[in-house]
Symmetry: C2
Subunit: 376 residues, 2 copies
């Protein structure tokens, strides 16, 4: 994987096309000759902006000699899904070097409309019963606290940590710390979870290249290796799951990705998890096996997931503070893995990491794509 | 490629999920154990039905043990694009057998809203100038007639032929013949083209399997071989193209697909082309090289593209009469190739075909995917 480029996440002036062009531009300028496929990861361009067919429009604007393009969509994990598919296509030799552009424009509509667009990925029966993604997160938090005796503060602390991390990420939507009391005093969204415990509504775009090993060597930039990647799908109907506290798609995709990479959780030096809501970071860390089930909340309090802890999680600021422009998120996670593993993370650089892991989740555990990254 | 299953195209009672389940069900029942990836080809589920994340919902409903799923989108050529990508993934060994489900539900909104959804794939500048896909087709028809002296009747005759073919296709949206005078007397949509020269607005779903050769042998059904497949992207801005009469994406994708297959246009026994409008079938046949440029309109009049002609085109009824549920179309073309090449096309069976070619186009030549099929 080569040279991810990310723009600032947040409420942006640029439209979906412009953001995408901006993040892809320098890569095409530098590596355009090698690129033979464009993958556009985007979940909701038609719904948010009334624009479709953007993969072709972007490709035709970026290249003098047009390059075939497709759109890959898998709701919130569209970005990592594109990486996973691109990796397979490059490994197979059916593509040489793939440009992935992951973009989402979410601030073009109001919050109410945005929430409705996102809720369209829930099972219709459960949606008609009034469920939303935030309400599911609130439900999960309650279950987790009851089952494991987790403190309310431990969950809110995830948000405090990730906002603190984002101060060192100039591309983050929110570069502002929040105190525990700030979080706990913010507006209740889905009891017990509060406003600062949910990701903001963000615009953003990230581009990167997936190339074979030979390409990587011939490129002037430093690449990192995708040591493993796997997808998993699960029951969309939350009420049909045996154990809602287990995010099985993450268990399965992460164990498959780690197996491919020949590593175990103890080998991972940092993780970028899908903290759409604070509680999810805790449950995901357990699903991967970073900590035993029911224990991750204590580790948050102990600082284990801090940048200087034993298992740094969401050093980038995560979805909570970096932002979550749906299809861009998986690629932003890859960007973080890249800068950490090439030693170019600046003020948030971890000490000599060798393996990183990212989890990008669709819906509420409907699907997940897990990628294991290795320094070259 | 194995066992495509298509339901009836038309104005259906079923919703997008139900149609998809119906077309995929029998394949999963028979081959479920071998399937390790689900590709859902769908262009406008969010826009037409307010439903997203359907790839996961469908996969989770079809399989006891959930299979990873992704959505592939490339506007009108989403179906063939999925075949092309699936073929690469199977060839690479990163998937064993892929279930592709291509579905579109278009009759859930009125014609005006439907037209707006489809127009969202045009370049915004050109769209704001009032261009629509039908208006572009009318423009093309005028240019073609002027440049090559084609008769108005020759273009309308494409519609007559394809409707006549569809009488033998029980899954076609319109199983009703139209006379030349019917066509020429129907409502003007985009001068000179008339209502019966445009594809109807249809619902529909098609499913099929892409498996490696070893699988194909072990399967009880008869498979056909994808001998070549290629995608091409072109300028989305029509006004920027050097020659609007040349559909360059079709020239490039078809020559690449034929090269892979080791064949020339003369080897092709039948073609399924993207006749969103009557004139497009003529121009596409020339872009592939089935007939010299500027001559295909005469061939239509001479019956060369009839089922008993030298180069049968759209024996299925094509988009004009079979219907064009956007993402399902490329898979319906594959279905036609399958039944023809396995000798199971019933009343529309051609005599011993060995090679078939399909062209599935996105937008107005923004992109195309061409597939060459070979009998086993």
């Amino acid at each position: 994987m080569q040279q991810p480029v990310t723009g600032k996440f947040g409420r942006l002036e640029k439209d979906l096309f412009e953001m995408s062009m901006e993040s892809a531009h320098s890569l095409v300028k530098k590596y355009g000759d090698t690129i033979d496929l464009v993958m556009f990861a985007n979940a909701f361009g038609g719904e948010y902006s009334g624009e479709t067919g953007l993969n072709n429009r972007i490709s035709s604007a970026l290249f003098d000699d047009p390059v075939p393009s497709i759109r890959i969509e898998n709701t919130s994990s569209s970005g990592a899904t594109a990486i996973h598919v691109a990796r397979s296509l490059v490994d197979s030799g059916s593509a040489h070097s793939i440009l992935i552009i992951g973009s989402e424009k979410m601030t073009s509509v109001n919050t109410r409309k945005s929430s409705a667009i996102i809720a369209s990925l829930l099972d219709p029966l459960e949606r008609s019963a009034g469920l939303t993604l935030p309400s599911l997160a609130g439900f999960l938090a309650n279950m987790y606290m009851r089952k494991y005796g987790a403190s309310r503060e431990s969950i809110a602390q995830v948000s405090v940590k990730n906002h603190r991390n984002a101060i060192h990420n100039e591309n983050a939507h929110h570069m502002k710390s929040v105190s525990l009391s700030n979080v706990l005093a913010s507006k209740t969204i889905a009891s017990p979870l509060r406003l600062f415990e949910f990701c903001p509504i963000s615009d953003g775009s990230v581009s990167l290249l997936i190339s074979g090993d030979e390409d990587a060597a011939s490129m002037s930039g430093k690449g990192i290796r995708i040591a493993g990647s796997a997808m998993s799908s699960g029951l969309t109907q939350i009420s049909m799951r045996e154990d809602i506290l287990r995010l099985e798609v993450i268990e399965r995709s992460s164990s498959a990705a780690m197996e491919q990479a020949g590593i175990a959780p103890k080998d991972i030096d940092f993780a970028e998890l899908h903290d759409m809501a604070s509680i999810l970071e805790i449950v995901e860390a357990e699903a991967i096996g970073l900590f035993p089930r029911g224990s991750a909340w204590k580790e948050v309090l102990d600082g284990s997931m801090d940048p200087d802890g034993i298992m740094p999680v969401n050093v980038s600021g995560g979805l909570l503070a970096r932002g979550h422009p749906i299809a861009a998120t998986g690629l932003a996670q890859a960007h973080e893995a890249y800068v950490q593993l090439t030693g170019s993370a600046g003020p948030r650089q971890l000490k000599d990491p060798h393996y990183g892991l990212s989890v990008n989740m669709a819906g509420f555990g409907n699907s997940a794509t897990c990628i294991a990254y290795e320094a070259n």
